[in-house]
């Protein structure tokens, strides 16, 4: 059971974040049936698609130098840019949201700004804790999110609805539902990090998606569609409508703990996207350094008031889309290899990658400020290129005697 909860904590690091809950809440306002069907379809498309992504460390039998050469291509830069961009900008927004939540739900005398820094410090500290302690904390964190949301969903299901759920609004369209794809961003890295825990990964992912679909349903039972669609905190509105003040308190805890899990997860995943290119010895030291630098950058952005600007949302959305595009391209690449092996299932991977790639493009061009988003995207990819170049130089000094982590005898 404990190991299942550990896997749950990895699987759900992004799914319980405020960002994901906003997407789900907004989606629920577009129509309960179509919203849930779309959410489930996107979860299945992503889940099936990522099974085509090749785990380069397990299957190629390359040493780290060969791996390094293989990985440094445009697709990798897109992935690194997306992951680090998300870790930096989404974390900044998420932390500020957690600060406001604590201030407004629990204790108004405590500055939201200070609480955001406390969560950042906690997420950073977790990185340096012994694995056993870290796992316990993450298990408690995610278990509360899961259980808290389950309680709200159950209460919402047994209570009399206050809003008719068989609606469709003028906003209901596939274009407006496409952002639900972003709920499943990062699933590729989750699967890679979990490695052999495939069965538990499948189970925890399935349970979490069902829970989120349930949350979308009960949100629509209690909050008017137009309010859900345009709300920036649909989760809190729904929690209050469903459970009153206790519901609000539960959701407050979910947001705070979910924020901690999300920021920790984003740091871990984004740093691992870089360090896997450098082998274990150099990768570990580089990884810690990257995480520390990211925390400093996030703190600096919060201190500079970036969260109080409208441009932050564009940065977050663009970073997520880069990551989503990377996932789509990785699935496409894996499917091509499957075709070469004349695998019948390759067609499924091609369909999955096509939907993800077209979806990410459609979301990108449906933004208000496409030019600014494009400039940001190019800048992030260029930044990833510079980062890897810089780290290659540094790593050359750090680990000249590195032992390759991958044996050539492995298949």
């Amino acid at each position: 059971m404990y190991s299942l909860l550990i896997v749950l904590s990895v699987t759900s690091f992004w799914l319980f974040s405020p960002e994901a809950l906003v997407l789900i809440g907004n989606g629920g306002g577009l129509g309960t049936g179509i919203g849930i069907v779309t959410l489930l379809c996107f979860s299945a498309i992503t889940f099936i698609g990522i099974s085509f992504i090749k785990d380069d460390r397990k299957s190629t039998g390359q040493n780290s130098q060969q791996l390094q050469k293989q990985k440094v291509d445009l697709v990798s830069f897109i992935g690194i840019a997306g992951m680090i961009g998300t870790a930096l900008f989404a974390s900044t927004g998420i932390l500020v949201t957690a600060g406001f939540t604590f201030n407004e739900v629990f204790y108004y005398r405590f500055p939201n700004f200070a609480f955001a820094f406390i969560i950042l410090a906690a997420a950073l500290s977790l990185q340096f804790f012994p694995t056993s302690i870290r796992n316990r904390i993450l298990v408690i964190t995610v278990s509360f999110c899961f259980a808290g949301l389950a309680v709200l969903v159950a209460y919402g299901l047994i209570s009399e609805p206050t809003v008719a759920t068989d609606f469709a609004t003028e906003n209901t369209s596939i274009m407006n539902l496409l952002p639900l794809l972003l709920v499943f961003v990062g699933l590729d890295r989750v699967r890679a990090l979990l490695g052999e825990e495939l069965l538990r990964f499948r189970l925890t992912f399935f349970l979490t998606v069902m829970l989120l679909a349930g949350w979308m349903y009960v949100s629509a039972r209690f909050v008017e569609p137009q309010r859900l669609i345009f709300s920036t905190i649909p989760y809190m509105t729904a929690a209050w409508k469903i459970g009153g003040e206790p519901g609000r308190l539960i959701m407050g805890m979910i947001i705070i703990l979910g924020s901690l899990g999300a920021v920790y997860g984003l740091m871990t995943v984004s740093s691992s996207s870089v360090t896997r290119m450098f082998g274990k010895k150099r990768g570990d030291s580089i990884g810690k350094g990257i995480i520390l630098l990211m925390a400093i950058a996030i703190g600096a952005m919060m201190g500079a008031g970036v969260a109080g600007t409208t441009i932050l949302e564009l940065y977050i959305r663009s970073s997520l889309l880069l990551w989503l595009a990377y996932t789509g391209l990785s699935i496409f690449s894996g499917s091509l290899q499957a075709i070469k092996k004349k695998s019948f299932h390759a067609a499924i991977g091609m369909i999955s990658s096509t939907i993800i790639l077209l979806g990410s493009l459609a979301i990108f061009f449906n933004q208000e400020n496409v030019i600014a988003a494009a400039l940001f995207t190019v800048s992030m990819i260029a930044g990833a290129l510079l980062l890897i170049t810089f780290l290659n130089v540094i790593a050359g000094y750090v680990g000249k005697n590195e032992i390759p982590i991958i044996k050539n005898t492995e298949v």
Binding site: G93, T97, F100, R109, I311
Partner: protein, 88 residues
């Protein structure tokens, strides 16, 4: 509401550049509280980004305006009235 009243005040102009550029009067939460509801007071919520989108509350009767687009809405309000802006 207590949350707002407690943290309210203000920073009526948190834009440093604006504060340096012109001499703007400020008021504390008690002053504003006593004026709320008056026809001669217009309260504008000029919070931006997550400061606005993550918050559940706003001052009763406050009108939301985009802080980066002052010229678009500045002319809408009578200059004879007391216009109170808050951004946090």
């Amino acid at each position: 509401m207590r949350v707002l009243v407690a943290t309210l005040f203000l920073m009526l102009f948190c834009s440093v550049s604006s504060s340096f550029a012109v001499n703007v009067d400020t008021m504390n939460k008690d002053e504003l509280k006593s004026m709320l509801g008056s026809e001669n007071v217009v309260v504008l919520d000029v919070r931006a980004g997550r400061d606005w989108s993550s918050s559940e509350f706003k001052i009763k009767g406050a009108i939301r305006e985009e802080p980066g687009d002052v010229s678009a809405w500045a002319g809408k309000y009578e200059k004879e009235k007391t216009i109170v802006l808050y951004c946090a």
